[in-house]
Symmetry: C2
Subunit: 329 residues, 2 copies
């Protein structure tokens, strides 16, 4: 199944080299490459290296401006609005969460609403970022319309991922969940394995709930988590991101993933340490009380495994990145 | 089905009279009564007047202290920790959201973490409160352990309701959702109607997903929304509430609903108006773009209907409240 494993440092440095070859400054190439490489290393293969080719195409099509840095539009106390100026989505998102963390250290909590950005790749990255700084991090993005509301057959909502990250000494708890029960990537992978989904994942063409991934891909009707509940949650996440950022809402974003720009995001950080040291012990006791695994645990295991054995890469994509990186040498 | 309808003013004033008869100050009786009456008027029959008998029993058992007011424990900028001192849960929660709103007006956003409180009745009340003040309101509570984590059969998580409220001129959007697909109240109501659930709602005794409400009541294994996703969300909500409030986590709360005290809650308000006026128009456009109903819409319809026709009450409970209210006259 895994064709090729690459040492993390080689993956990271090659990505950074490719980004420098594309014109990124050294500092921005390093951070952007690290976010891509860590995502693959953490086992989120759909949103790391494998997204790099689309990222390249969107740069070439001038839909992502590699030199754009976010710009502060307005601020009031611990709440700030930034314009992402269609810069690289992961750099914009990292900058926004970093700014929320700084605000949280000062004010106890802080929030950044970001308009006019591009795909942030793995949302969980910014949760790990907050937890690594000792903060509770909550963030979400809106997306192109790709999820029908409960009761509708037409995709007018977005599969807006929601991230909750909680710092914990025994391993941060990081929930990174989309609003559909299974992403299109998960549906495709399941179909390719010739399997059925473990639970209903959407509707078939006749409007019946089904575990057949191909039927859901064909109908374009994935199921929101909790049916009407996930549908409602998708709506309010879109509203908050667009209202606070002053940017586009899902209904205004082009439905083509290659043209998914101008999206709106929200980043919240809370610093429990400003209220005292006891939150660490509370987090540890809660995790210790569980009789199951928890969100983030599998990430840490995959990270350790991939750091030891090498990070699995798709050979074609890897070769493409190496070629770009070598083009400048 | 509806045996008796009472004018809203009569419901409210009778509840306030009963609370005064129990020893509540006039101001606190008015607010507490309004929160109970509005919940029933809004059609959330399980958490309004029908909860009043349990509220009474917990007051009589000295598990709720009717005179306790929340006390500021620590604060840092826009983040505050309060001790609810086992006061009436709806008064404590209303106070906390009000304080978060004040902080949001000053700092753009504000949060209150509340420890040591009691059941807040309808969580949506505090969302409507925030939206009514022009704020985005996000809040949640932890609960007694009543939801098995995904992969477990033992209830160690709570059915922690999560509220997202977004102000909108054409009707606020208020999502008030528990972490289980169906509450125990909804399961009982479905069973009494002799119906099956519209979708799987939990596991039967043999561990199979089922639409039979009685089988889920017997197994005590309701299904988290989105299976593993709702399970993870329940965990992080508990962690954030307990860590920031310094209070109890679900695993420390007694499993008996009549002894469910010392719970932890979190209230966040964001004031979009501090960044400019455009958020109102954005909210309106998003709601207008929908081809389905949205959370809060049905509440407004039921509210209008019940204000016009009278609020439906359960005769036995209503008689009990009237008797208490008349005991002091």
């Amino acid at each position: 199944m895994i064709a090729l494993r690459i040492p993390f440092a080689e993956l990271y440095e090659t990505l950074a080299g490719a980004l420098r070859a594309l014109g990124f400054s050294a500092v921005r190439a390093d951070l952007c490459a690290r976010l891509f490489a860590e995502t693959t290393c953490d086992g989120v293969y759909t949103h790391g290296l494998n997204r790099f080719p689309r990222f390249l195409r969107m740069i070439e099509a001038a839909r992502i401006d590699i030199h754009a840095v976010p710009e502060l539009v307005r601020s009031h106390g611990a709440l700030e609005r930034w314009d992402g100026r269609c810069g690289p989505g992961n750099l914009n998102a990292w900058h926004s969460m970093q700014r929320a963390i700084v605000l949280a250290h000062t004010h106890g909590l802080g929030a950044v609403a970001l308009a006019n950005t591009t795909h942030w790749m793995r949302g969980g990255s910014y949760g790990w970022q907050a937890a690594g700084a000792g903060c509770i991090g909550i963030c979400w993005t809106n997306t192109l319309p790709n999820l029908p509301a409960w009761g509708s057959t037409e995709p007018r909502l977005g599969n807006n991922p929601l991230i909750f990250a909680v710092p914990c000494a025994t391993g941060h708890v990081v929930l990174d969940m989309a609003m559909s029960q299974f992403s299109y990537g998960a549906l495709a992978a399941c179909r390719e394995r010739g399997e059925l989904l473990p639970v209903d994942g959407g509707f078939d063409a006749a409007g019946r709930l089904t575990r057949d991934p191909a039927a859901i891909e064909a109908s374009q009707r994935p199921l929101p988590i909790g049916y009407w509940k996930g549908s409602g949650l998708s709506l309010v996440l879109d509203m908050v991101a667009a209202m606070l950022s002053g940017g586009l809402a899902t209904h205004q974003i082009p439905q083509d993933p290659e043209r998914e720009t101008g999206i709106s995001q929200f980043f919240l950080a809370l610093d429990p340490s400003v209220l005292g040291p006891e939150s660490n012990a509370i987090a540890g006791r809660i995790v210790a009380s569980l009789d199951t695994r928890y969100p983030g645990r599998r990430t840490l295991e995959l990270r350790a495994e991939n750091l030891e054995l090498g990070v699995p890469v798709e050979p074609g994509v890897w070769e493409q990145v190496r070629t770009i990186a070598n083009s400048r040498r």
